[in-house]
Amino acid sequence: MREGLLIILFMIALTSLCDTVNQLFLKSAIDSLNFSPKFNFINIFKFIFQLVSKPRLWLSFLFSVISLCIWLLVLSKADLNFAFSADSMHYIFIALASRFILKERFSALRWLGTGLIVTGIVFVSLS
C-alpha cells in the first residue's frame, strides 16, 4: 500500500515536471512574439497563427503529451481528488523555474505561500 503510494507520488512528480517544462517553453515562445493582442477574434487568431510557427511551442506540446500519458496512468490508480491535489507540487517546480530560469522577482509572501502548498501536499498524502 505504502509502496503503491510512493510510485503514484513519483509519477505525479514526473507529470508536474513535464508540465513545468511545458509552461517554460510556452512562456518563452509567447515572449519571443512581443505581441499584445487586443481581445477580439481576429487578433487572437493572428496571435495563435504566429504562435504555432514557433518550434518552442511544439516542444511545449510534446511535453504536455508526455505529461498527459503519465497523468492518465495515475488516474487509473488513484482517486481524482488525491491526484489533483498532489499535482499541485507543480507550484514548487514553477516557483523555482520562475525564480531561477525566468528571473522573475519573488517576495517573502510568495515563498510563504509556496511553503503552505508544500505543507498541504504532505497532509493530502498522509490522509
Binding site: K27, C69, L72, L73, S76, R110, I117, V124, S127
Partner: protein
Amino acid sequence: MFKKKVTLKILLLLIASDILETAIHFFFKKGAMAQTELAAVDLPSAVVFLGAVFSSPFLWAGLLSVAVVFIIWSTVLSKIDLSVAVPIASFSYILVPTVSVIFLHEHISVLRWAGILFILTGVILVSLSSKERIAETK
C-alpha cells in the same frame, strides 16, 4: 494598482479556465476509469492501457476542453507573468475535490480537506504577493 480594464478581462478569462480545468480533470478521470485497472507499472501494459483510454469519448471531451483552456492561456500569458497567472487560476483546487465527491463518489477525510485548504491558502498568498509586485512596477 494595475490597469483595471485589462485585469477584469484577464480575471474573467481565468474564471472560465477554472471551470474548464475542472471539466478536463473530470473527463480524464472518467476516461481512465472506463478501462480495467492497469495491471502493472511497466511500458507494455502502459501502452495497452493508453491505447484503450484514447478510444474513450470522455478523453476527447477532455482534450477539447484542454484546447480551449490553451487558447485562453496563450492570451493570458502574453499579458502577465507565469508565476502570477498560474496561481490566480487555482480555484479549481476546491472545484475538483467537490466534483470528485458529488459525481465520482470519492471519500475525502478531514485531514485531506485540511491539506486542500493549506494548498488553497498557499495559492491565495502567492496571488496576493503578485498583486504587491504589480503595484510596485506601476
